[in-house]
């Protein structure tokens, strides 16, 4: 994390207003949205304890088990107060993890929170010269489709919202941020599109893999990619390195059929014929039995895998956890 890449750091220096600022031994300051989630806390802890960043958390939820020296604000991203955090002008980076996925929330509210919120954040970053913006998007933005190539590269179109309205927000945020990447040349914007992040968190893939009898679609067994939550956090650290900008797929240790993942976890899959799966799942969702939106069925039906070579070549990111460790991360205690 030292300023070894000279070209990168000089770019940063310009953005910060002078070369002297970088060389001063002051703590680097990062704003993390969505810090109260389990993944947010892991990222914060990694940056704070191990790399000595000064952390400002931005999340409407309270942050449980917050260390004293982490600043936390429960502001709405769209509020004046959120802007004031950036106005001080000494923020070195923004890590935007706060994309809300709650499938039970009202779509209009989600949309406003996610899309307007992100637009505001990007606006603050440009106005107050934040030199680094990292967005945690997802490889799901490409969408699971029968005609997908086995490995999608970063320039593949983001087609997830075509069949999957719940993904619309994330696709739009990703698009907005990639426009920002090209428009705001003085800011190093990094968009990370990790494959399914698994760990002791409450996201859809981890929740699914923790079910004792996970429903699967009879006659379908797509290849899937998983990434260990600590590897995903590491990818964010890699993205913070001065000089790095661009869009990167983040892969885990390899590819496996869904059935092999479930076998490794000793789960007992429940095969459902796919014409029945939709009505069953939508009824289960309506009655509050399941939290999986119907459209997510496509993720256990079709392939949606990505090529992570660019991230390893340009970001220097490499997964450290093997296949077995990654799979078993879902059963780690929180």
């Amino acid at each position: 994390m030292n300023d070894s890449t000279s070209s990168g750091s000089s770019k940063l220096d310009e953005a910060l207003g002078g070369p002297t600022e970088r060389t001063l031994p002051r703590l680097r300051k990062v704003v993390i949205t969505g810090i109260s989630g389990r993944f947010g806390r892991i990222v914060a802890r990694r940056l704070h304890h191990e790399l000595d960043w000064q952390i400002i958390g931005l999340d409407r939820r309270p942050m449980l088990g917050k260390p004293k020296d982490i600043e936390h604000h429960s502001y709405d991203l769209r509020s004046k107060k959120a802007r004031d955090i950036f106005r001080a002008g000494d923020i070195d980076a923004l890590i935007h993890l706060g994309v809300m996925h709650d499938p039970r929330a009202r779509p209009a509210e989600l949309y406003s929170w996610n899309v307007t919120g992100t637009a505001k954040l990007l606006e603050y970053c440009q106005a107050y010269r934040v030199p680094k913006v990292v967005l945690l998007s997802s490889a799901n933005v490409y969408g699971p489709r029968p005609d997908n190539p086995q490995f999608l590269t970063e320039d593949a179109p983001l087609l997830a919202s075509q069949r999957f309205p719940q993904m619309r927000d994330l696709v739009e945020i990703d698009h907005m941020t990639s426009t920002f990447l090209w428009r705001a040349q003085q800011i190093e914007t990094v968009i990370l599109r990790p494959v399914h992040i698994v760990g002791p968190m409450r996201n859809a893939p981890s929740n699914y893999l923790r079910i004792e009898r996970p429903p699967v679609l009879l006659g379908f067994d797509p290849m899937v990619q998983l990434v260990h939550y600590r590897d995903a956090a590491e990818a964010i650290v890699c993205a913070l390195t001065p000089g790095r900008r661009g869009i990167y797929n983040i892969c885990g240790p390899g590819e496996l059929p869904l059935s092999a993942v479930l076998r490794e976890l000793r789960r007992d899959p429940l095969p459902i014929p796919h014409p029945l799966a939709k009505p069953i799942l939508s009824a289960a969702f309506r009655f509050g039995v399941s939290s999986f939106p119907v459209a997510e069925l496509d993720f256990i039906r079709y392939v949606c895998m990505v090529d992570g070579r660019r991230a390893s070549a340009e970001l220097g990111y490499r997964p450290r956890y093997g296949l077995r460790e990654t799979i078993h991360a879902v059963d780690e205690p929180a």
Binding site: P146, P149, T153, F220, P222, M223, G254, E255, P257, Y302
Partner: protein, 308 residues
């Protein structure tokens, strides 16, 4: 006739070279005396052959495209039955299958159902000293069909996108392409052994990845389902084609037990710019197409009977 004779004379020496190039996988029968004119004793130890396949797999035994050697054994056992017993396939020019390295097999496509693909793959797996796994490009609708969706991928077959093909060739795999596509497989009996229009995708990929093209002529598949195609009715029901055969069950679900003859031609190494003018590419496609067409003619002249 003359060409075939030459092919036959080529066999013994090519045999030695291919046997020598894979010294690690010698089998008892590969060096043995040849039976009859072109056939050698079947060397069908599927477990050993699967073991000898060169594929990249992870600790769970799956390659990036979902191939698993364990599942492959089942598929090959089935394919061997069709290859050896049902179609009694005969393969010529096996020495033209490179033991290693990237290669694009380009073949004529026929017979309503893609048994020709299976037979070519079985030949490349069962016949050479070093078995090759042929990966064919399946249609986009296959991943939407239950069971076929994952079985095809366990057996090493892949969704036919150019990206997939490029990636496989870059890792020195063998890819099978039918440039006639649906035009070829669903053509009516009256147009048998006339090649339909070739697509240019295979050529672009071969030029881009500098892969040799091995032309393959398949004789026999045309007669496995002598069908007429009810295009208008198919259109009415939104089907890609509706072939009708003149015997029960009238749909070509079960192929007739014709005899398959495969001719593998000499590898063609084409050079050029994959983004060149259509005319330039067309000329190169024509080289491959003509080679296949002449091998088809040769094979048809050679053939005494459709069923034996």
């Amino acid at each position: 006739m003359g060409l075939l004779e030459r092919l036959r004379q080529l066999r013994p020496e090519a045999h030695q070279t291919s046997g020598g190039s894979s010294a690690g996988t010698t089998r008892g029968t590969t060096g043995g005396p040849r039976e009859g004119s072109t056939r050698r004793a079947p060397d069908d130890d599927i477990a050993a052959r699967t073991q000898a396949l060169v594929v990249q797999g992870n600790e769970f035994g799956y390659d990036p495209f979902g191939l698993s050697k364990d599942s492959l054994k089942t598929a090959v056992t089935l394919a061997r039955f069709f290859y050896r017993h049902y179609f009694r396939a005969e393969a010529h020019g096996i020495e033209h299958i490179p033991a290693t390295g990237r290669v694009v097999f380009v073949a004529n496509h026929s017979g309503q159902l893609p048994f020709d693909g299976m037979v070519i793959a079985a030949a490349a797996f069962l016949e050479p000293a070093q078995p090759r796994l042929v990966r064919s490009m399946v249609e986009y609708f296959v991943p939407t069909v239950p069971f076929a969706s994952y079985l095809f991928s366990r057996w090493g077959q892949i969704t036919g996108t150019p990206e997939n093909c490029r990636r496989l060739l870059a890792t020195d795999e063998a890819v099978l392409v039918f440039p006639e596509g649906a035009r070829g497989i669903s053509k009516p009996f009256s147009r048998r052994y006339q090649l339909a229009e070739f697509g240019k995708g295979f050529l672009r990929l071969a030029l881009e990845t500098q892969s040799p093209i091995v032309p393959v002529a398949v004789i026999g598949a045309e007669e496995q389902a002598p069908a007429i195609n009810l295009r208008r009715v198919a259109k009415l029901f939104g089907l890609p084609s509706l072939p009708i055969v003149p015997y029960p069950p009238f749909l070509p679900i079960v192929p007739l037990p014709v005899k398959y003859r495969l001719y593998f031609g000499e590898p063609i190494q084409l050079r050029g710019d994959p983004d060149d003018d259509e005319d330039v590419l067309d000329a190169q496609v024509k080289i491959v197409k003509n080679r296949i067409q002449s091998m088809i003619h040769m094979g048809l002249r050679e053939r005494q009977h459709v069923f034996w």
